[in-house]
Symmetry: D2
Subunit: 500 residues, 4 copies
C-alpha cells in the first residue's frame, strides 16, 4: 500500500502545528444516475474540511461499492477507472482530517456494516464526548472494533439495535451518543441526514432535479448547480427513501428533546468556505463584519491594511473599508507546494513561513502595517510573519485578530493543541503576548463583537446563541470520556498499530 502521502494543502503545510483542523465534511445524494460523480464533486467543494483522506460508498441496486483513499478527492475520485468501480444511483462520501495524527485507511470513512436487515454506510463530521466509554462497553459485549474512530461506535450501536427498520436502528444509536455530529447514513433504499441536538456541526438539505442531497456546506450544492432547500435542524433526523416507482419520499423526525441551536462559531471564523451560507448567514459577510467590528473596537493609525492570506482577507477588507486605510496584498502566498515540502528537512524548516508566504516588499517598506489574521492559536506563525514583515522594511506592525483569544480545548471535532500551548495561556496579559509576537500592538475582537458580526446581537450569556467554549469554557454537552478518565490513564483507544 502506498505510504500515506500528505497533499499540497494549506493546513498540511503547517510545520509549526499552529492551525486548527476540522475533522470532516459529508455529502450524500439519493436517486440520481450520476450520484457517484456528483458526490466526488461535492466532496471536492468540501475539501477544505479535510485533506488527508476521502471515501465514497455507492449502492447500485444490488451491491454496495466502497472506495477509500488517502489524499485529495481530486487525486483519485474523478479518475474514470475509480468512478467505474463505484457505480450506483445513490452515493455518499466523506473527507477527513485526522484529529489523532494517525490517518490510516481503516479509519477512513464512510464506514460500512452488513446488518441482518441489509447494509448500512455512515459518515460523520464531529466528535463524540462519550465515544470511548461506549467503545469499552461494546468490547466487553464481544464487539470487534476495526477502526479507532468513534464513528465505528455508532455503527456497532446500529448493528446491535433490536429495531427492525434501519432508520429506527439509526435513531436508537444516536440516542446513546453525546457530542457533535452531522451525519449521513445510507441503506439500500434510504439516505439519512442528522444533526446533534445542539447542531454544533452544520448540515444542509439540497435538491438537484428533484433528488435530495445532504452536504456539510452550501458550496457543495453550488458546484453541482443544486438548490439549497434548508438547513437540517439541530436534533433533526431526515429520512429520504426511494420508492419502488423511483419517486423519493422525505420524512423529518425529531427524536430528541427540543433545544435551541448552538452552531460552532469557528465555522464562521475559520472553517467554512467564505462562499457558503451557514445557518442562514453568509460566511464571507460574517468575516467582513468581524473586520468592521474589529476596526471599531481596535483602531490604529496606519498606512496599509494587509491580510494574512487567505484566512484574514475578508476581515481585512472589512477593516480597510471601516477604517479608510488602504487594503493591499502585502503578503503573497505560494500555492505550489509539493510532497517533500510537507515534511521539510531541518535545513529548510529554518526558512519557515517563507516557504508559503513572502512579503510584498514594495507595499510594506517604510509603512505602518496593520496585519489582519482570522485567529491566533499558538502564535508561532504570527511571530514569523511579523519578523518577515519587519525584514521587508515595515516601520510599524500592528496585529488585529478577527476573533477572541482561545483558552480551551475543543472536543467536538476541532483538533486543538494542548491548552497549555495556546498563546492565551502562555502569557499573563496582552502586552506579554504582543511582546512574544514582536508586534507594535496586538488586539483581539471581543466575544460580543464576534457574536454581533455573525448573529447581529451580543452574546446571551444565559442561553448563548452559539457554541463558543474555546473562548469561554462553556461546553454545550457533557464530557463523559474526559471526566471518566483517571488522571494517568492513557488516552490510547487501540492496542494495535497498523501500517497502511
Amino acid at each position: 500500500m502506498e505510504s500515506p502521502v500528505n497533499h499540497p494543502s494549506d493546513d498540511s503545510f503547517d510545520m509549526y502545528g499552529d492551525t486548527l483542523r476540522e475533522e470532516c465534511g459529508v455529502f450524500g445524494i439519493l436517486g440520481h444516475p450520476d450520484a457517484p460523480t456528483l458526490t466526488a464533486l461535492g466532496l471536492h467543494a468540501l475539501q477544505h474540511r479535510g485533506q488527508e483522506a476521502a471515501g465514497i460508498v455507492t449502492f447500485d441496486g444490488r451491491q454496495f461499492h466502497s472506495e477509500r483513499q488517502l489524499g485529495l478527492v481530486g487525486d483519485h475520485f474523478t479518475d474514470p477507472a475509480t468512478l467505474k468501480r463505484i457505480p450506483g444511483h445513490m452515493a455518499m462520501g466523506h473527507v477527513r482530517y485526522s484529529t489523532t495524527g494517525e490517518t490510516i485507511l481503516r479509519n477512513v470513512q464512510p464506514l460500512f456494516a452488513e446488518l441482518e436487515v441489509g447494509g448500512i454506510a455512515i459518515a460523520h463530521n464531529g466528535n463524540l464526548t462519550n465515544g470511548l466509554t461506549l467503545r469499552r462497553k461494546l468490547i466487553a459485549q464481544g464487539a470487534i472494533c476495526q477502526s479507532t474512530s468513534d464513528t465505528e461506535v455508532i455503527l456497532h450501536l446500529i448493528a446491535r439495535s433490536q429495531r427492525t427498520s434501519s432508520s429506527d436502528r439509526f435513531v436508537d444509536a444516536i440516542g446513546a451518543v453525546e457530542g457533535a455530529y452531522a451525519m449521513v447514513a445510507m441503506t439500500r433504499t434510504k439516505l439519512i441526514g442528522a444533526r446533534d441536538p445542539n447542531g454544533i456541526r452544520p448540515l444542509v438539505l439540497g435538491d438537484l432535479d428533484g433528488k435530495p442531497i445532504f452536504a456539510s456546506e452550501t458550496c457543495a450544492l453550488d458546484i453541482i448547480g443544486a438548490k439549497f432547500v434548508r438547513d437540517v435542524e439541530n436534533g433533526e433526523v431526515i429520512v429520504c427513501e426511494i420508492q419502488a416507482d423511483g419517486t423519493v419520499t422525505i420524512e423529518s423526525h425529531h427524536p430528541f428533546q427540543p433545544r435551541k441551536e448552538r452552531i460552532c462559531l469557528f465555522e464562521y471564523v475559520y472553517f467554512a468556505r467564505p462562499d457558503s451560507v451557514v445557518a442562514g448567514r453568509s460566511v464571507y459577510a460574517a468575516r467582513k463584519h468581524m473586520g468592521i467590528n474589529l476596526a471599531k473596537e481596535a483602531p490604529v493609525e496606519a498606512d496599509v491594511v494587509v491580510p494574512v492570506p487567505d484566512g484574514g482577507t475578508p476581515a481585512a477588507i472589512g477593516y480597510a473599508q471601516a477604517s479608510g486605510i488602504p487594503f493591499e496584498l502585502g503578503i503573497i502566498r505560494n500555492h505550489y507546494v509539493g510532497r517533500t515540502f510537507i515534511e521539510p528537512t531541518q535545513s529548510i524548516r529554518a526558512f519557515g513561513v517563507k516557504l508559503k508566504h513572502s512579503a510584498n516588499r514594495a507595499e510594506i517598506a517604510g509603512k505602518r502595517v496593520v496585519l489582519i489574521d482570522d485567529s491566533i492559536v499558538r502564535g508561532t506563525t504570527s511571530l514569523k510573519i511579523v519578523q518577515m514583515i519587519r525584514e521587508a522594511g515595515a516601520s510599524e506592525v500592528h496585529i488585529r485578530v478577527a476573533s477572541p483569544m482561545i483558552y480551551f480545548s475543543d472536543y467536538y471535532g476541532i483538533d486543538t493543541p494542548d491548552p497549555e500551548k495556546l498563546l492565551a495561556n502562555q502569557h499573563k496579559d496582552l502586552a506579554s503576548m504582543c511582546k512574544f509576537i514582536g508586534a507594535d500592538s496586538l488586539q483581539f475582537l471581543s466575544i460580543d463583537g464576534l457574536y454581533d458580526a455573525v448573529g447581529g446581537e451580543p452574546r446571551d450569556n444565559k442561553a448563548p446563541q452559539f457554541t463558543d467554549h474555546y473562548f469561554t469554557g462553556d461546553y454545550p454537552t457533557q464530557l463523559t470520556d474526559l471526566n471518566g478518565r483517571s488522571k494517568n490513564e492513557p488516552k490510547q483507544i487501540s492496542l494495535l498499530r497498523e501500517a497502511g
Copy 2:
C-alpha cells in the same frame, strides 16, 4: 492504495485457470528477540503456499503491531523500514492465496481483535464448511464483519465467548466450527497452535534456542536453523506461554473426541515443498515413489522421460529410475516473469505455455517422450504442452500423471474449478481425455498406488488414512454451508465491494 500487483510466481502465471491453489501458510514464534525477522523468513520459506498477500502481527510488550501487504513476503517484509514498524519478541504471520479471487487488504491475515481481556491475532490455513452459516448467525446478533474471510467468524466467536482466558475462548470458538484449519493465534503472552480434528492441513512445532515455533511445513524451520520437535496432532491445541521470568511453558490440549488423522493427500501430490517432511514423510521421497509406482502401473516404451517442471520432476526421476529410460530436461522453464505477463494481452495470450515453458528441441526431436506431470485439473495446459512437444519434433508423446483423476471439489482450502470443468468430468473415458489432450497415451496413478507411495499401504476403505475426496468423493466432515444453501441462493458473503 497501490493497485493489487500480482507477482511473478508459478501460480499467478496461470492464464488458463488450470492449477489448484492452496489458501495459506502460517508461522509463529514466541519469546525470541528477532521474532519479526524470523517470521519474515519463515513466511518466505512458505511462500509457495500463497503468493497474493502476506501479513505479520507482533507484540512488543506494550502494543501489537500489524503489517499486511499484497505481494510477496520478499517485496516488503525484509525492508528495514517495515521491520522497524513491527517490533516485538513475539510474532506470527500468514501468506495467502485467495480462494475467492478477490484479494483485498481487509482480507489479508493475521486478523486482529481487541477483547476485553486484551488483543488477539489469528491466522488460518484451511477453510470452514460452516463458516457462512455461523456468519449469518453472528450478524443477526449484531456482529459487524469487516472481511469476507471465514477466519473472521472465528474471531467473533472468540470475542463473544464468556470464558475468561483467551485460550479458553479460543477453544470455545474452534469447538463451534467445522472444516479444515491449521491455526496460529497470539495474545499478549501466548502463542497457540491448533489443527482440526481430522488434521486436514499440516502444522508443526519447532524450536529455536529453546523458543517454540509453529509453522505449516518443516521448510520454514530449516530456513532459520530451527529444530523440528513434532507435528501438532489432529485435534490438538498447543498453548505456549511466556512467563513473568521470561521462560516459556508449553501445554497440550485435546478438547475434541479423538479421531484418526486424515491429512490431505494433495499436500504430497502438489502443495508442500519437496524438502518438507509432512506428517513424518519426506514429500520428495513420496513424489519420487509416486513416479516409481506409476512406472510399474503404466509402463511405456520410450526414449526419454521428461518432467513437466517443476511439479513433475521428482516423479519423473522416480519413473526414469524404475523404468531405466533416461531422464532429460526436455522442457525448460522461464522464471523471469513480470507484472504485465501475469495478465497478458490477447495477442500474447496466444503464445500460451511458451511464455513460461519452452521445448528443449535437441532432446525431443525424433524421440518417443514420456511426459510426467503431478496432476491434471482441466487439461488445458497439458494440451498446450503436448502441442509444443510435438512441434519440437517428438515422434510419440505419452502422458503419465502421478496422481489419480480429480472428480470432486474441495471445501477445505484448495481452490478447485467447478466440477463440470474438470477433465475427468468432461470425458466419458480415458481414451476421450487422451484424444482431447492430443497424446499418444495417457495414464493416471491409481488411488492405491498413491496411498502406497505416501503411506506404504493401500487405501483402507473403511477408515481411509488420508483426506482424498477430490479423487473419491469421500468428504471427511459435514458440509453444512453447502447443504444448507438453497438452489438459487447466491454464494455472496458480502454486500460490499471494496477497492483496495
Copy 3:
C-alpha cells in the same frame, strides 16, 4: 518510469487551453556550502514560472550530480534522500513548462555535456528563433541531439567551439543564436549568467554571504534572505569564478553590439510574481497601476469590483481605489486540486470553471459587478465565469481587462495558442467579443495605458521600451525558423517519440 503526473497548479488546471504559459525559471549559486538546498528553495520561489518539471545540477569538487524530475520542486527536491544525491558547493537549477505539450525527462533541464575541457551544465528561460535552423546544421555535421529542446543546440555549439576556456565557448555559442534567453551555465569553477541582447527575459544577480546568485526573479532571493545586487543587463554575460583560495571573482562581459533593453511586458501583466521587482519595477505596483489606468480609461457604474483570482487581484484593488467602487472577493478559488482533476472526465468537465472557482453569491446577487482580469487569451474561461456570475444573481456584469487585446503569437518562450484561436482574431470588433463572452460591457487597457502603468510613459513607437509583439506584431528579433519554413513543412523537430 512514472507516468508524467501533472500537478496541482493553477495553469495545469487549464481545461480549456485558455492561459498563457511561460517556459522556465532559472537559478544558480556559487561557493555556498548549502548550494543544493538553496537552489531547491530558489526554484520553489520560481515555481510559478513552470510546474511540469524541475532539475538541479551540482558540482562537489570532483563530480557533477544531476537530478531531474517531473512534478513540482516540492515533490522531490527537499527530500533528504534527494538532496543527499546532489551534494556540492555550487548548484544550478531550472523549472519548466513545456511549450510543446510533450514534457519528457530528456527535455528537463539543466542539460549537461562533458567537454574536453570538463563538464558544463546549462539552463535556459526563453526560446530561440533560429534553433531549428541551427539544429539542422549541427545534425548535418554529425551531432546527435537527445532532447527536442533548443537549449541543447546551445550545448552543441559550446561543445564544438574551438576556444579553450569554457566561458569563451559559451560566448561563442550565444553569439550564434537569436531569440530570447536568460541563461545560467556552470562549469567546475564558474557560474555564468547571461541575457539576450534585447533582455526579453529577466535575470537578476544576488548575493548571499558574499556568494553570487543568479535568479529569474527577486522573489527567489527573498526566500533565502539573499540581497538583490542588480539586474543582469541585456546582452551582458557575467562570469563568476571560484578561485583556488575559495574567493569568488565576478567579471562582466558585453560581447554584443549595445542595444536598448526591451523586456517582455507579459512579465508584468501575468508571469512574474507580484512581490518580485523586475527591471527595477515592482510587479504588484505595476499591476495595481494597470487597474488605476483601466479605471480611468474604462469607467463603469457598478456596485462592486470583483477580481478574477488570483491574476486579476492587484489590478482590481487599483480599479477599486481609483473608482471608489468597493472591492470584494466575489469569486472564491478552490486551491485543492488533485491529480485526476487535471484531466477531468467528460462528465466532470461539464462543471467547468466551478471546479476551481465559485461565485460568492452573497456579494454578487442583485449587484452590478465589474470583473477585473489580467488578460484574455481565447475568451473561453471568461465566458464560463460570466455565466457563473450571472447564475449567482448579478444584475450586470462588466469585464475590464488590465492589458490590451492579444493578436500575435510569441516565439520567445510563451506558449500562445494559434493566432486564429485568439479572441481578438475571432471577432471583428469589441461588441462581437463582448457578446461572445456574454458580458454587459467589455473594455481592454490601451497599449499606452499599459506602458504608462509599467514604465511611467507612453509607448515610444520608434524605439519601444518593451517587448510587446503579442499586442502589436512588432517582434524584437528576426524569426529565422519561422521564415525559413516552407508552408507545408511539419514543425516536427524529432523523429522519435519517447515515453518517459
Copy 4:
C-alpha cells in the same frame, strides 16, 4: 521517475557478488504487423541475458517510438498501454545487465540518433576494448555523450561518417571499433545485424512468415514460432531492407578480413539458455557432455549426484548417467523472491544461501554427495552450499565443476570480479581451494574436456576454436583501453552522476 527497482531474478539475488553477468540480449524484426509484440516476446525469451532494464524502438512509417524501462520485460512491455505507445511494422529491442553497476535510464538501449539521412537505433551485446579511447577522441571533436555506455560511441561514429547510406555509415563505424559485438541496428527501411570479426557474441538470423529476424539466441525464435535460418557469421553484416512494394531484400556483407570464428565458451558453460542452439551446438547437450567428461576425468565414489540448481543440472544429469550414481534433487530452490530480499538487511543476510536454496534433507542425510556446479567464481557461494549440505547430514561432500578454473578478467561483456578476488587466484593449489570451500574433494573440468564437450575435439593451441581467455589469458583482440590507461588514471567515463 520510479526508483530503480531490481527484480526477482536469479542473478539479482546474488548477495555475495559471486556470479558472472552477461551484458545483453538483442532482437529485431522487419516488416511484420505485430513487430512490437513479437519483439517483447523475443526479449522475454532472452531475459536470462539481462534483467536490469529493457527497451524497444519501433518505426511506424512516419515516426520512431522508443520505450525504455528498468525492470523485466514482463513488467512493462506486454501492457497494452505500453504496446500502444510503440506501434510499427519494424521493431528492435534490448535487455541489459549493467557491467558498471550503475543502471540508469540514459544507458538503457536501444540508443537512437537522428542523422541527416534519417533516424537510426542500435542495440549491442558485447563490449568494446577501445571504447574509452574513441570516446575521448569524439569529445575532443565536440561530440556530446549522453550515456556512459560504449554503444553510444558507435552511434557517434555513424553520425559523423561522411557516407550517404546509413548501412555504409554503420560499416564505417564498426570498422573503427575493437572488441565484441553482436549488434542490431534499425533505420526507416533497414534492419541490420552484425557480429564482430571473432564472433565472440552469438547472433542468429530467423524467419517468421517470410520476415527476417535477428536474435541473440534461438530460444527467441522458438517462443514466437519463427524458423531458424542460420547464424550470422563472424565479421558479417546482414542488411535487410523493406522495399516500396513491401517485399524484403536481404544482403550479406563481409567488410573485414576473414578470420576463424571464436565464440565465447561461457555461452555454453553458463549464459545461453539450455534449449538454445548456439553456433550449431545444443547448449543442453554441451552441458550434459561437460558432465559426462567430468565423470571420466574426476570420478568419485558416492551415493548421490546433486546439482546446484539451476546451472548445474544438465551437467549433473550427464555425470549421473556416466557414473551410474543416482541423480537426485538434493537442493531445492525458492523461486519466490521479492524486492526487499534483493538488498537484504544485515540480519537476514546471515541466512545466506538459504534464502534461495534449501537442502532436501531426506535425500542427503547420511549420504556421500557429489555436488555439480557449472563454474566457480569467487567460491563464496560454494562455501555456503557445502555448509548447508553438511548441516543436512551428508557424510561426504565432493564438488565437481563442469568448467576449468577462472583466472582472468573478461573485457567483452561479462562482468567479472577483480582477478585477485577469483577463487583460483586466492589459493596456491586445488587443496587450498578445497579446504576453503570445506569440501571433501574438489575437481574442475579440464580445458580440453570442455573443448571436447562443446566442439568434439581438444583445444587447438595454435588457433583456438573458442574464446577462452578467462581460463587461459589468451585474449582474442587487442585491449587498447586497458593498455593505454596509465596506472593511476581513474576508470571514470563520466563526470556526471545522474539519478534516474
